[in-house]
Amino acid sequence: MATALDITAFAADDIRGIGTDPNLLRKEIPWPRLFTAEEMRIVTALGDIIIPADEYGPAASAVGVPDFIDEWVSAPYEEQQKDLKAIRAGLAWIDGEAKTRSGKGFAECDAARQVAIVEDIVKDGTPARKAGYNFFKLFRDRVAGGYFSTQEGWKAIGYTGNVPLSEFPGPTPEALKHVGLA
């Protein structure tokens, strides 16, 4: 009754993805990064307009957010590949917008001009701006997610958990008072 099967044939596919049984204690990104150096410069500059250094914490680039964006769009999954297409086109668009206005690429513009471009994008309305606005929202949400999931981002947003407690104290008296339950 013994039948030998080729059991190795199923072990080696999807080599570029995370795989179905990764080591959960180690972060390993098996796929190659796809952004060019020029794209990374725009990602870094725009990321820091979205999350600048201020009294709440460091800028996005100081906690590795540009690298996370590259990791994200380079992943071999449908959702991420869709984002790659949209973000890559958006980066080219915003860079073109900067060149039209000032003759310089977005990353080479000074901060004031970069902010002015972003402010124009988020002033909603015209169909001409819609593509830029949709790109900006997508990119901004990825940057924000990448940032607030870091320890520095926790401080900025006010997350104080992930620490072991001997007892769960429930809401503080100030919290109860705040919601009208004290």
């Binding site: 080729d6 959960l24 999350i51 997350y159 958990g161 620490v163 769960f168 429930g170 809401p171």
Partner: protein
């Protein structure tokens, strides 16, 4: 912590072979091994030890893609599942509702897919208990007698009184927190651990629901809040879906299998995929055939009795594939019920935002990572649901809180235009103010929902696979609509604003069958052989020295998540099987 040290050695023959290592297989193996039986456990997945493999305290930034769901890890990177909607080389077939064609089950969003069914499988020691929701609700007296209560479905051949002692024993092994409430159809336990204090947003839901006449009480969850031998109490950090290295959140691999191994009566073989139960000349089970995934060879192991705890549909598949001249349509299928009466829980949800929670003074709301409060089905809900054509109940849990941020952050109503310091201020202001209400409801089993053997497709071991038929009844669609309305009222009563209007016709948001991971009923128990697959002690009518320990035996599909009842019935079935084989009342090979 007991050390989980499995081996691949095995004897020529066992008293009992247990197929599966999760809630059903783990509890059956523990019960049998403690009673002195020599037991072999076969698990189709790999060995897995939560003590060394669980990512405790890792942040989402420590995971690829900030821990996002991917086809490889469908509930996120850290989720303690190997497998999910797809197990490579082990397909199942489902109907595509749009094309009307059969296709392999794939990775999809359960409430936005054309697949009629989705089947979650976990190929690892401990199975789905490693990541499960830990919700541990006893079924009540009415849940065992649905036909007597509302005329639909069938009654179980057992009552609450029959199972209550086994719930008591399960609770003492598992460790469950909760509060005694005296609700008639939601029985209390004498063994509850003290529940954790409610979070601020949960207190707002509790206060609001009271105005609606709906009682909100402590959740009943399999997480220790006091120590048990070899298991530490919860320290209120790091999500339980990753598994729990300290054994606070119950899972078979920390809380059942190590204690079964301690008896010296249990051997475990992982990567052992069972194909069929074999019979002797007198039609009694005498062992199982399995594929050893490490050697690629088919093996046979002999036993005097067999317990199937491979998950409801996988156990049914093994029975279908255990064909012989005597049982040409599959073992247990003499009366045509095998694979039928497949059920799952319904699911509905509604989200909102509570302004009172904005700018909350900073505090830690991690808790046990599950809702600390929930609303059992109430009389006031039952009345309005019945009037709307929905006969059965659901419970409500409340989502929210200042949880560990993942790869997406809600920025509040001004989200679209935000950037710069203003973005950080808004994110901080709204953090923890978003809430949701979600329900799990009871389905009435119907004749359109069943599993059968696919006529052509086989898995990589050459074993025929399952294909699934599914159709929700109007009862369930009306129920999800009722959830929508009720959850909107609950959010508003808590002082919140709903983010969208309740969906009037829920047909478009019904989940794919099976996708709530509560498959039940395919080997249902019955008082007479003509009405089911298994007898009132979970033994297969056709061959009583096989017991089914998983939710396949459920004659109805109450909204109370199945795992606790699976474990209580697994103890009962295992003890009955062992006693019967010993005293000869259940015929078994010598």
């Amino acid at each position: 912590m007991a050390f989980l040290n499995t081996s691949r050695t095995r004897a020529a023959r066992y008293d009992v072979v247990v197929v599966g290592s999760g809630a059903a297989g783990g509890m059956a193996a523990l019960t049998l091994a403690k009673a002195g039986a020599k037991v072999l456990m076969l698990e189709a997945g790999r060995k897995y030890d939560p003590v060394t493999e669980t990512p405790m305290f890792q942040t989402n930034a420590d995971a690829p893609l900030r821990g996002a769901n991917t086809p490889d890890k469908p509930y996120g990177f850290f989720d303690a599942t190997i497998g999910g909607w797809v197990v490579k080389g082990e397909p199942y077939t489902v109907k595509n509702k749009a094309s009307e064609q059969w296709q392999d089950g794939t990775f999809a969003k359960r409430d936005a897919t054309d697949q009629n069914f989705m089947w979650w499988r976990s190929r690892m020691l401990g199975g789905r208990t490693n990541h499960w929701g830990r919700v541990s609700l006893r079924m009540g007296p009415d849940d065992f007698k649905p036909r007597s209560t509302d005329g639909l479905g069938v009654d179980w051949p057992i009552s609450y009184e029959d199972i209550a002692p086994f719930y008591d024993r399960t609770d003492q092994i598992v460790g469950i927190f909760g509060s005694k409430e005296g609700l008639r159809n939601d029985p209390d336990s004498d063994f509850f651990h003290t529940p954790p204090k409610p979070r601020a947003y949960e207190l707002l839901f509790q206060r609001g629901a009271k105005k609606l006449g709906i009682r909100v009480i402590s959740s009943r969850v399999a997480v220790l809040t006091k120590p048990m031998p070899g298991r530490a109490p919860c320290f209120y950090a790091t999500p339980c879906s990753r598994g729990c290295s300290i054994g606070a959140a119950f899972q078979s691999t920390t809380s059942l299998i190590p204690y079964a191994l301690e008896t010296g009566n249990l051997d475990v073989i992982t990567n052992a995929h069972v194909r069929e139960v074999t019979l002797d000349a007198r039609g009694r089970a005498n062992g199982v055939h399995f594929f050893d995934k490490e050697s690629g060879k088919e093996e046979h192991v002999a036993a005097r009795a067999v317990v199937l705890g491979a998950s409801a549909c996988e156990s049914a598949r093994i029975l279908f594939n255990s064909r012989s001249a005597r049982f040409a349509n599959g073992l247990g299928n003499s009366t045509g019920h095998l694979g039928r009466w497949l059920a799952d829980s319904t699911a509905g949800d509604m989200s909102g935002q509570i302004p009172a929670l904005e700018n909350m003074p900073l505090h830690n709301e991690d808790g046990v990572s599950f809702p600390h409060l929930y609303a059992p089905w109430s009389d006031v809900q039952a009345r309005s649901a019945k009037a709307a054509g929905s006969p059965r109940g659901y419970y409500t849990t409340f989502g929210g809180g200042r949880r560990m941020p993942g790869g997406s952050v809600s920025l509040g109503p001004n989200g679209g235009a935000l950037f710069g310091t203003k973005l950080k201020e808004e994110a901080r202001r709204y953090f923890g103010s978003f809430v949701s209400a979600a329900g799990r409801g009871e389905m009435v089993p119907n004749e359109h929902c069943f599993a059968e053997i696919d006529p052509v497709k086989k898995d990589r071991f050459g074993i025929p696979v399952l294909r699934f038929h599914w159709k929700w009844n109007d009862y369930e669609v009306r129920q999800v609509e009722h959830m929508q309305r009720t959850f909107a009222e609950m959010i508003e009563a808590a002082g919140g604003k709903i983010t969208r209007q309740p969906i009037k016709d829920a047909t478009s948001v019904m989940t794919a069958g099976g996708s709530v991971n509560h498959e039940m009923g395919v080997t249902r128990m019955s008082a007479k052989a003509a009405d089911g697959v298994t007898n009132p002690f979970s033994g297969v009518w056709d061959c009583p020295n096989i017991a089914v320990a998983d939710a396949g035996v459920f004659a109805s599909s109450p909204y109370k998540n199945p795992t606790l009842t699976i474990m209580a019935l697994a103890i009962r079935a295992s003890e009955h099987l062992l006693a019967g084989v010993k005293d000869g009342s259940i015929s078994a090979p010598a």
